[in-house]
Amino acid sequence: MLPTEFLASEPVLVMDHVAKSFGGVRALVDASLTLYPGEVHALLGENGAGKSTLLKTLAGVHRADSGSITLEGIPFIQGGTRDSIEQGVAVIYQEPSLFPDLTLAENVFIGRQLTAGGLVDWLAMARRSLALFERLGVTLDPHSKARGISIADQQIVEIAKALSTDARVIVMDEPTAALSSKEVERLFTVVRNLREQGSAVVFVSHRLDEVFALCDRMTVMRDGSTVGRAMISDTSEPEVVKMMVGREVSELFPKLEPKIGDVVLEVKNLSLAGQFADISFDVRAGEIFALAGLVGSGRSEVIRAVFGIDSYDSGSVILEGKTLPKGKPSVSMERGIALVPEDRRQQGLFMASSIARNVAVTLLKKLSSGLLVRRADEENTARRWAGTLQVKFADIADPVEKLSGGNQQKIVLSKWLATEPRVLIVDEPTRGIDVGTKAEVHKLLSQKAQQGMAIIMVSSELPEVLGMADRVFVMREGKHQGTLDRAEADPERIITLATGGVVSV
């Protein structure tokens, strides 16, 4: 089949001007996607561009607020996951969705088990799934349990499931993220076979090289809208990156002139099997050092290891000339490192406890006499910090869950700033908070840096990285991909590095 031949046929799926909001958040604004039978279609966009929401709408997990979806010319019924499956849509999710306790055969046919006379027909299921596995070129035992099989094999089982439903649209959400190169090749062969047989495959990947190797057409999304469509043969990687980023770096962040001092923290050849390998960098006093990269590139894992929450296999972390013991967050704290975690609800705060308690929890030793915490001191300390950070609250004894997301984030920050750290590590410091508070947080970080604090910032938001960082350390799949100075850093270069390309400066 010639690359463009499929365009002569009728589209199998048309999603037109689809919009979807969750509460006040507009996840999809104006998303459109057209698929033809016999094509592999790349769906591209940054994290948070709305790809997953669009696909989940198709999968029946979400229902679109407006817009139209037609499948083979017929209006698509948005009932639920079962309706989507029955209409011929199969979605292979990024996170494994097999049933570990069931056999592979039953996993293939789950919810639609083959029956004979109303009873589950185990032999027929085993025979059919074996045939499907063979067609996909793998040797898997349909009788064995799904528990413990590799991610690559899990995907094959999911694809077999899709084939068993005669799905005409098969969606693969970042299927290659956890695969070795050999497994990726096997997957590509399978996808090409599906294309030969007339399926429409949606392929989501952040690896542009893969997209160019495999796909026929692409749709690019940004901020919940479709912003571009192209034949792969008519475009180039830089062009795609431009479409994905496509926005001006906002002037929201009042970056102050840095006063860079001596090296405070050195990370040398840090490795942890399966997470990251050979990570080295140093951070200076007064510097904001950004770790950039896609979600899952290993940034959070690196800082967790640096702080001591997780251990590591080899390498070392040196703070002001002295090596830190691995896996000891309490020592890191004492020696002057603070970590503001990514997920403030789960990792950063005691949601049901008071503001005072949350702020003071890092200082309990200082605020105690013997075994007892001096409550007045606790509250005064908390009040002082809440004032410094302009936290809006009614009563210092209120539980933090009563505060808005932005104010909660300020509480997490005060709790760690209260320890007066030499090195402050912040993981996604402004995720899910409003624009005003965001600017305040940025200002605060900038001020602290100017006062000589070394700041390591993990962020998935490019404008934030570009606005704040003195240097940008880009990671991809657990490896260092390149470091850019403030002057060199621009969205294209960062995305190119993060997606596996090479940048000349």
């Binding site: 079962r82 499956i85 049933f99 570990p100 069931l102 919810g111 029956t115 589950v120 413990g148 590799s150």
Partner: protein, 326 residues
């Protein structure tokens, strides 16, 4: 060959071997233990727990639990005798028992499936609510032998082919349920729900409906089992069935019905019930003071869970290391 391999891999095998071991040791120490009377004692004692364990399996494989069954079976056993003595006959009592069982199971199921409340808390509440209503209803009265319907008394006293009828009722229930759990689609969904609840939703399984139904089935079984309990003891009072749910859950866990959901079978739960009962009897036969029995059973539960954990962590390690072709 394949059948043999499946047998060796089956979760029920270790339970069965443990049972053989217990019977063997007790038999050597006290030959009377293996006699027909000894076996009959075990089978008679096990029937109620086995029946409730079958129903409980429907719930536990979904990663849920139902603690209300002890109160429920006690209440319905009282109810059957009470209604009979008031002239509603056997069938009136059985219908009421089934109705109460379905109602309690339905309320549990509704709260768990549709309001998404944790089953542990919901059914713990159910345990006390049902017991409280039962106590008020019984109000110090007891059901005596004269108030037990003769058919119910008959199943408690008689044997078919030397096997107690009570046990045969349990056996039939296990055979039927075992078949359903293996061969009926909706029952297979219960395993899927317990194995990976999020994936079950994505696979288009009507999760809430299945969870609700399973609770209703378990409630119905516990309700009807009131007749079996009344037949066994030929009496009932406000304390009937007290703490029985714990023995039932113990039987399931010991029998390889994983508390984390997704695996185990009614046969396993059935064997687990027999094993616990055999240990109780063996302790008597070996001359060990009877109060050691509970400690033994408790240790066995912990052992079963540790065994399970060991199996699953072993599998997990291999996952992280990747499979052969990775």
């Amino acid at each position: 060959m394949n059948a043999l391999r499946n047998l060796v891999k089956a979760r029920e095998l270790p339970v069965f071997l443990a049972l053989v071991l217990v019977v063997g040791i007790a038999g050597i120490a006290n030959p009377g233990f293996i006699s027909a009377t000894g076996a009959r004692d075990i089978l008679l004692g096990v029937a109620i727990v086995a029946i409730l364990a079958v129903g409980q399996t429907f719930v536990i494989v979904m990663r849920h639990i139902d603690l209300s069954v002890g109160s429920l079976i006690g209440f319905t056993s009282f109810l059957i005798g009470d209604l009979y003595s008031q002239g509603y006959g056997l069938w009136g009592g059985l219908a009421a028992a089934l109705g109460v069982g379905m109602l309690v199971g339905g309320i549990n199921g509704f709260l768990v499936a549709y309001l998404r409340l944790p089953s542990l808390v919901v059914t713990l509440g159910g345990l006390y609510v049902v017991r409280g209503i039962f106590n008020d209803y019984a109000f110090g009265r007891t059901i005596t032998a004269a108030m037990v319907p003769p058919e119910v008394a008959w199943i408690g006293l008689n044997r078919l082919g030397g096997i107690p009828v009570l046990f045969l009722i349990g056996l039939v229930l296990v055979i039927v349920s075992g078949f359903i759990m293996r061969r009926v689609r909706a029952a297979r969904d219960l395993y899927a729900i317990g194995s990976n609840p999020a994936a079950a939703e994505l696979a288009g399984i009507p999760v809430a409906r299945r969870v609700f139904t399973a609770f209703v089935i378990n409630g119905s079984i516990a309700g009807l089992a009131g007749a079996v309990m009344l037949g066994r003891f030929n009496a009932a009072n406000a304390n009937s069935g007290l703490a029985l749910e714990l023995v039932v859950i113990a039987a399931c866990v010991v029998g390889g019905v994983t508390i984390a959901g997704g695996s185990g079978s009614v046969w396993g739960a059935f064997l687990g019930a027999i094993l616990l009962q055999a240990i109780t009897r063996a302790i008597g036969a070996l001359g060990i003071p009877q109060f050691w029995q509970q400690a033994f059973n408790g240790a066995l539960i912990i052992l079963a869970i540790a065994f399970d954990k060991y199996l699953s962590t072993r599998v997990k390690t291999t996952t992280i290391m990747g499979s052969d072709d990775a």
